[in-house]
């Protein structure tokens, strides 16, 4: 399978767009989100499933999304729409499908098999359409590592906060502290397999302060992005992902030292008399990238 050609692109914010709302779909490029999640699952009533699927397929084929990543959340493997969704969406070449209700590796593998066949039938290069797996049950959290390593088609893991709370029989709070273990489990499983980890949605669209706090927590836990359910949430999420001025200064010094070491042909990078490990350099580069995305001036190394 080919490497993820979209690796390294920003995925701070992924905005859910109901798949049956042409007015919103046509504006995907203007919301400022790094990616959109065109939804065929929870936001679509049963009677609208077919219409939404056709609309999303048409939009993927016809509309210019600019640089915005196009992810389609399909219906789960346990529904009668799963195969239909894949059959109609994959030929329209989304960047990824988000697979809900993933309980174990077999759910990912089944989707992978179908997508591989569809790519072949439609002359699409194998591995073009990635998978993001949604972990929404206690069983899924227990299987997180196995899920994360199940298929090279996977590009990220995420958790479904509402469904997971329901499965655990607990009440979901706004700041999501009851899901701390599950969130960390998803982040660690994802990172262990080189995947990205996306945080669940913040459901109160009127509380942007609370969203900012929750997103800052997500950043501190290691999530690379967070889903949004309203365009007004997008800039707030981006604020939380923006590094501070001092973090940018430090990162710039690290990256500069690494480049100088490389230019000198030195194998070891040193800054202010201390050795710097490769992961630190990578993290510094990531910080500068986030600063650039946040529009911070002078974010170049």
């Amino acid at each position: 399978m080919k490497p993820d050609r979209t690796a390294g692109r920003p995925r701070r914010s992924l905005l859910y767009i109901p798949g049956n709302n042409p007015g919103m779909i046509q504006n995907c490029s203007i919301y400022g989100a790094d990616g959109v999640l065109l939804d065929l699952e929870d936001s679509i009533a049963l009677a609208e499933k077919d219409a939404a699927r056709k609309l999303v397929r048409g939009a993927l084929r016809a509309l210019d999304f600019g640089g915005v990543e196009r992810v389609v959340r399909i219906n789960g493997r346990d529904t009668p729409y799963f195969e239909k969704d894949l059959a109609e969406i994959v030929p329209a070449r989304p960047d990824a499908v988000r697979l809900p209700k993933v309980d174990g590796p077999e759910d990912v593998l089944e989707a992978d098999r179908i997508i591989s066949r569809l790519e072949k039938e439609n002359g699409i290069e194998p591995g073009t359409v990635r998978i993001q797996a949604m972990l929404e049950t206690a069983r899924a959290i227990v299987n997180a590592a196995a899920i994360a390593s199940s298929s090279p088609r996977l590009s990220g893991l995420t958790l479904g906060g509402q469904d997971l709370a329901a499965d655990l029989g607990i009440k979901a709070t706004k700041d999501g502290r009851e899901l701390l273990y599950a969130k960390s489990a998803v982040v660690i499983a994802a990172k262990a397999s080189g995947l990205e980890a996306f945080d669940t949605v913040y459901t109160d669209v009127n509380d942007l302060e609370g969203l900012l706090e929750a997103t800052r927590t997500a950043v501190s836990l290691g999530f690379s992005g967070k889903a949004a359910i309203h365009p007004s949430q997008v800039p707030v999420i981006h604020v939380a992902f923006a590094p501070t001025e001092s973090e940018v200064r430090k990162a710039r010094a690290v990256v500069r030292a690494a480049r100088e070491a490389e230019a000198r042909g030195a194998g070891v990078v040193a800054l202010d008399g201390r050795m710097i490990d490769a992961p630190v350099v990578a993290q510094a580069e990531r910080t500068l990238e986030l600063a650039r995305l946040a529009g911070m001036e002078d974010a170049q190394a």
């Binding site: 046509q26 203007i30 400022g32």
Partner: protein, 521 residues
Amino acid sequence: MKLDCVTNSIGRRVPREIPGLGVLAPYAGAYSRLDGSYVYTPKTFPRRVPAPTTDKVAPSLAAAIERSGLESGMTVSFHHHLRNGDTVVEQVLAAAEALGIRNLTLAPSSLGDEADCVAGFIRRGVVSRLHTSGVRGEVGKAISRGEIEAPVVIRSHGGRARAVEEGSLRIDVAFLAAPACDRLGNMTGSAGKTACGSLGYAIHDARYAGRVVAVTDNLVPYPLAPRISIPQYLVDHVAVVDSIGDPSKIATGATRISRDPVQLRIAELAFGLIKSTGYLKDGCSFQTGGGGPSLAAARYVRDYMKEKGIRGSYCIGGITGFMAEMLKEGLFEALFDVQSFDAAVTSSMADNPRHMEADVSCYANPLNKGCLVNDLDVVVLAALDTDVDFNVDVLTGHDGVLRGASGGHSDTAAGAKLAVITVPSMRNGVPSIRNRVQTVVTPGETIDAIVTERGIAINPRREDLAAAARAAGLPIKDIRDLKAEIERVTGVPDEVEFADDIVGIVEYRDGTIIDSIRRVV
């Protein structure tokens, strides 16, 4: 009406003459009369001096109409400060009809949604001519269908003030709704249960009309205090009625900032453009409308001015509670209020001496000795349609039917150093940038930029702005490319079919004719 036409300087066919209005001058450029050489002689008309009266208060509206000397064929004016809550237009026209008066020329400062009743007065012959800034609803449909023989004359707010002052629009009797009034006719809009804030349009009519009738539902003890907007020496009669309007439709609650992502995106880009041009600095002046993107842009402007500690000079125009708030925060020296858009404004004007009532000539009359719009730095405006020449239509909808208002659009665009149009790239699937707008209200010569959620088009005359905006990383696009991009989503709509008959003319602020409105087939 079929009329002999001539082509004006922007290629629009406009009539040379209209029976009853006389010879008309075609538009010849936005500043053709503003180079300092233009001379005009005001047309005056006889005014009878009333004997000092002991009682201006008439026993009824009908009695006030009779005392005013109103006859068939005369011109009556109204202000539109009561917005969609106004009932004075209907009450006066109904009383006039009952008195057997016909063939009136109706010349309000504008007509809103409440004026559907006017269509009936037109059909019954009570009103046979119309001069206004705006036309909506049934009246717009009636005109576009050709139900009124004489073409309607559309003027901007500044243009109407000019026409009244120079005498080309002669008002025989002005009926001025007064939320508070005393027995000698002192009036204000900033008190009473139907308070509407500024009386900016009414002040001007009171100065120039042959007769002035105050129509009030709130006769206060003499003298009206502390504020008098229109003084007693301009007022002939006072008519007391049960109600001049519906307060719930006059002063709506505080205008709220939109959460619509498209409008917010437009506002964000508009603000980015304004910021990049460097006009937002100490001493700047600013005008924005109460519409979605304009108001949202004002919020960005406010946050930026606060953050950078900028203190501007003044804001003008239709004033919203949001701008009153900015004044209170010390972001501007003063507000000039010609028309108040929401309830929050009324208390600000009553309580804050820096929130000043301005008459419409002071606001926008291009041919007086210095109007406020001429000193504007930045104005953010809306549009129904725009075209590749940057012309703006705020009058006719996609179906060609009249449904908008000229307002202060062309006045502020011509006066401001930076005139920004904010418009969604499409509405209900119909694109907002066309090859030619149906009706030019504001000429492209006076528009600097068109901002849509899909990018910004800058008038090629303003390469300086384009360079600054590009340097700021804004999505600047050639207007034809932007149009093509939008049409990839919408397709290109069919042209609306029009007959040759002219049902209206659009007079530019300087008195020349910029476009004609034709009958919709």
